[in-house]
Symmetry: C2
Subunit: 207 residues, 2 copies
DNA sequence: GCCTTTCGCTACGCCTCGTAGCGTAACGCC
DNA sequence: GGCGTTACGCTACGAGGCGTAGCGAAAGGC
């Protein structure tokens, strides 16, 4: 999330936090207007009102800049208690779909993932800033469902189940929205959730 | 799939089919070596032994070229009858995962999908050349499972079910392999298939 | 008030893009 | 076999982005 992890000198002129915010905001604006492929570092610098060199002092490449600019959007995802596991899943699926509808996430997410297949540090950055960060939703949802008695306790659950569920939910929604390019409407959400819950129930029945 | 659909004049020197094949092969080789972002049209032309202008006469952009170069790889997917729906699903999931392990598909697939979010014709090209084309696997698998009595007949199945299943399978595997960047090993395949089948069984029990 | 670091700015070499123009090569048709 | 048509290889070009270097000025810590 932060442009320079920690090891920054204590002396000298400090980096402008204002510039950081302006750059990330400008990056998102540029993504909306231009999309990933036509976004240029010079353009972002111009929008943010900073010099291009300032930009390169903080982010080594367009990839890392965009990851940071988009990552914060995913933190908007929430999991309010809707009373049942079904409602909780449907709610988060709808939220995630809405997030993927936004042009800046739509055009950036797949692009940085594509780049990450050839760039291990970038993949790690994505994993830490976005993927692992949002698994909290699965953990919270399961914890709540267990409290309600809708799912068996953790002791009876195989390790890696949360990862599996996360891949299924996020993967299906992304594929529906960006690859199939068809709407994630109420009907689809209902049916997908029913499918997933049916699978979870079956798994709970016979470990 | 074909570079120029059909409306090509009958007179004059015909386009070299040899060049077509060489270009697509060179594109795949370049994807393996350089990845998506560093692949250039000039480089592909050089590898294929053709002039850069020849390349532009057939494909308007790098995006369309790569879609055509990669699309044929997906046709390798097969669905041999493995005796049960479980085995059929596990088999195709393994095949799909193996395909996504190949560097040329790994780096290209996400990239062209990212581009397609801002390029309607490209999205359509992907849909026709790859996505819709591979739904045949779902249709065939369901048909077979119905013949075995493992699934109810089509009449009792809601429309769009095949699309849902396709999004779940393809989405989950892609997400596991490229986003989570963890191996699609035998254990994961087994558990994912069990989850999906449990969901299908539940859906069949109560329409 | 000095030292250190960042800042904005300008300029640069390098590369890729996509196109234009040329002469030549390969085919269908008569 | 000749003619018309189209594709081909080649060269060259302007446009534009990349990433870096070097400068003087500004903004903090001590």
């Amino acid at each position: 999330m932060c442009s320079a992890p920690i090891p920054r000198s204590r002396t000298g002129r400090p980096r402008s936090a204002r510039a950081d915010a302006a750059i990330l905001e400008a990056t998102r604006a540029a993504l909306v207007e231009l999309g990933w492929s036509k976004l240029t570092m010079g353009d972002v610098a111009g929008r943010a009102g900073v010099a291009k060199t300032t930009l390169y002092r903080r982010w080594a490449s367009k990839n890392e800049l965009v990851v940071d600019a988009v990552a914060v959007l995913f933190d908007e995802l929430e999991l309010p208690d809707r009373g049942s596991l079904t409602a909780d899943i449907e709610g988060v699926v709808r939220q995630f779909a809405a997030l993927l509808e936004r042009p800046e996430t739509k055009t950036a997410l797949m692009a940085v993932i594509a780049e990450s297949t050839r760039d291990e540090p970038l993949r790690e950055r994505i994993r830490v800033s976005i993927v692992e960060r949002q698994k909290r939703l699965v953990l919270e949802g399961r914890r709540r469902a267990q409290a309600r008695g809708e799912l068996p306790t953790t002791s009876g659950t195989a390790p890696g189940t949360d990862d599996l569920i996360f891949d299924v939910i996020a993967g299906a929604v992304v594929h529906r929205a960006l690859v199939s390019a068809e709407p994630v409407d109420a009907e689809w959400v209902r049916r997908f959730t029913a499918l997933l819950l049916g699978g979870l129930a079956a798994a709970a029945a016979q470990p």
